[in-house]
């Protein structure tokens, strides 16, 4: 168990900067998920914690000790790799026990701990097999066994589930969470899969282009995305966006003539400026054409999900997704009405992409630049 503090950490390869100053604090025993698209620097950050990448600037400390110049073996972390990286010539027992062998743990003690670990990850029957004789899920378990046998302070997971098929992934997800509950070591899990991120995280970190976009619980991030990027990245289908000008009175935004009420205080500060309005597909409502407060739209196509459906509608060339369990069925080409409940509307600055009711200082700037334009 250990807390991890990351202070203004940067990474650059030559002149290309990958991480632009990351500040994060992970509490002891927390399950942290770092989520972001590929190339956002999430794996690099994880590898810097592990000690597999040099830290170009800044400081990482584990349990109060700065680890910048420590070798991986002295940091008390263990890691599960995306391709498992099992030693192909060793059997399962030797793979799991290798760290102990290196550490010089006596044979009897080692065997005892291998058996115990194998029991935890459900591999007691497979100890004599070579990795090539195992299925993907079993290899994954060996990799986890190898990580837990050392009783590390910190677990690092580098997209460990992305090589598994969809069904196994869900199963392993549950097992990882269960394992964490049992061992309660601080865990850092990197993924690009938002479902994994939402389901596993105590604390979710969304990264983009080498910056941390938002830190929070999964629900905080879902309900109050701090930037337009986070709004788009979390949720499936992605959040719908349209540009709108806040009415001079300052208490509503407009889409095709339909008004949506917004927080008056917020509206007053931004009156007359153009903002980016976001609303999640599952919060949009489809109604019969002509219903009051609805925007006329044409059904573009329908995706059936079994439990519900995603209906994509066209409003003057802008495609809106409407989803969720209760989306009613409409034929392709039908004319319908789209209602956007104002309590579910997110407002973002068009220039900075920041949430308007979240960053007072920037709100002012937005206002100015709009006026200047």
């Amino acid at each position: 168990m250990a807390e991890i503090n990351i202070r203004n950490v940067r990474k650059s390869y030559g002149r290309t900067q990958i991480l632009h100053g990351v500040d994060l604090d992970f509490k002891s025993g927390e399950f942290v998920v770092i989520l972001g698209p590929s190339g956002c620097g999430k794996s690099t950050l994880l590898r810097m914690i592990a000690g597999l990448e040099e830290i170009s600037a800044g400081e990482i400390s584990i349990d109060g000790t700065v680890v910048n110049d420590l070798e991986p073996r002295d940091r008390g972390c263990s890691m599960v790799f995306q391709n498992y990286a099992l030693y192909p010539h060793m059997n399962v027992a030797a793979n799991i026990g290798y760290a102990l062998k290196v550490a010089g743990v006596p044979r009897a003690e080692r065997d005892r701990r291998i058996t115990e670990t194998a029991r935890i990850v459900g591999l007691e029957e497979m100890l004599d097999r070579k990795p090539a004789q195992l299925s993907g899920g079993q290899r994954q378990r060996v990799a986890m066994g190898r990580a837990i046998i050392r009783e590390p302070k910190v677990f690092l997971f580098d997209e460990p589930l992305s090589n598994l098929d969809a069904k196994l992934r869900v199963q392993m997800r549950v097992e990882i969470r269960r394992l964490h509950k049992r061992l309660s070591a601080t865990s850092v899990f990197v993924t690009h899969d938002q479902v994994e991120a939402m389901t596993l995280a105590d604390k979710l970190i969304v990264m983009n282009k080498g910056h941390v976009e938002q830190v929070g619980t999964p629900l905080e991030i879902y309900h109050r995305p701090r930037t337009r990027f986070v709004g788009t990245f979390i949720g499936s289908p992605a959040m719908n966006f349209f540009d709108s000008t806040i009415a001079p009175g300052g208490n509503f935004v407009l889409l095709d003539g339909i008004q949506m009420a917004i927080d008056p205080a917020l509206g007053r500060d931004n009156a007359g400026s153009t903002v980016s309005v976001g609303i999640r597909p599952e919060h949009c409502r489809l109604v019969k054409a002509g219903t009051a407060n609805s925007v006329p739209a044409t059904v573009d196509f329908v995706e059936e999900l079994g439990s519900g459906r995603n209906v994509h509608v066209d409003i003057d060339g802008t495609i809106f997704a409407v989803g969720g369990d209760e989306a009613p069925f409409f034929e392709t080409g039908a004319t319908v009405g789209l209602q956007l409940p104002s309590e579910h509307i997110h407002l973002f600055s068009r220039d900075t992409g920041l949430r308007l009711d979240d960053a007072p200082a920037l709100k002012h700037n937005t206002n100015q630049s709009t006026v200047a334009a």
Binding site: G51, R73, M79, A85, Y87, H89, Y98, A103
Partner: protein, 295 residues
């Protein structure tokens, strides 16, 4: 490829059979000659039917060339060269692939360039060094500090002299390098996370994984070392250190002696045997090591 082409098949078989004859023909000739008497072996045209003097010829060759000690010397030097090459090549490829030193490409290309400089090309400088190993060191110390040292180490007429100059191998380094590069980086990283230092990783992970490679290299290098002629001939003036290849020279008839080709061929047959055995035993690994990598 599945095709029905009986004529093409017949042609390919014919060509393969021709190739086989070309390869096996000389061997049969050696064997046939080694069984014939002096008169039989010198008949023109050559008679491919074996004679009855095989054992006699073998015995004569063995005694005349003093093959017992010579074969022993060859075996010792070949085994030493072989293991030296297998170990040094593994280590140098390890250094080139796994350590990010700024000059590693320079070193790799320097090693690679030596492919173009076989021993035969640099035989005189190599001989100079072997005759006086510390000459460059003495020169360096003298030019730098003015102190003249009397360090002497002479490799002539010794096993180290026969072995050391042959140990460096660009082919082997290259073979290992290609193999190491097929291994995923995560393997090294996983070992690092498990606490293994570089040498530990090399011994516990890399060496067992490159077993087929090592055996393939060992096969080639044993045969290479066994077949060395020029270097042992230059290096050894004492009969004690003569290798089989050099000893073979005494069996080749010269202008003033009897044309006893039957005895030369019997000697050739004996000398051929050890590398044949090595290739036959390691052949399976040899092919696997060069063709594919074990998953």
């Amino acid at each position: 490829m599945i095709e029905r082409t009986p004529i093409l098949n017949a042609v390919t078989y014919f060509i393969m059979f021709l190739g086989l004859l070309l390869i096996l023909g000389p061997f049969w000739m050696i064997f046939a000659a080694s069984t014939q008497s002096l008169a039989q072996v010198n008949t023109v045209p050559f008679n491919f039917v074996p004679g009855a003097d095989f054992l006699h010829n073998l015995q004569a060759a063995w005694q005349r060339a003093n093959l017992g000690p010579a074969l022993f010397n060859s075996l010792v030097t070949s085994l030493l060269v072989m293991s030296g090459k297998v170990i040094v090549a593994a280590l140098s490829a390890f250094a080139i692939v796994y350590f990010r030193s700024p000059l590693r490409h320079v070193f790799f290309w320097m090693v690679f360039l030596t492919l173009m400089l076989p021993l035969e090309v640099r035989v005189i400088p190599t001989y100079n060094i072997a005759a006086d190993v510390f000459a460059p060191v003495r020169w360096l110390i003298q030019t730098l500090t003015g102190i003249e040292l009397s360090l002497q180490w002479n490799l002539l007429n010794s096993y180290s002299g026969l072995v050391l100059p042959l140990i460096a191998t660009a082919t082997g380094t290259f073979l290992y390098r290609q193999f190491y590069m097929t291994l995923p980086d995560e393997l090294a990283e996983a070992a690092k996370m498990d606490g293994a230092r570089p040498l530990r990783f090399f011994i516990d992970i890399l060496l067992p994984l490159s077993r087929t490679n090592m055996l393939a290299l060992a096969t080639i290098m044993f045969v290479y070392a066994w077949n060395q002629y020029l270097w042992p001939k230059l290096m050894t003036t004492e009969a004690d250190y003569q290798t089989a290849m050099v000893a073979m020279r005494t069996l080749v008839p010269n202008i003033n002696s009897l044309p006893e080709w039957n005895i030369s061929m019997a000697g050739a047959l004996i000398i051929m045997l050890p590398p044949l055995i090595v290739v036959a035993v390691l052949q399976r690994w040899f092919v696997r090591g060069l063709v594919s990598t074990e998953k």
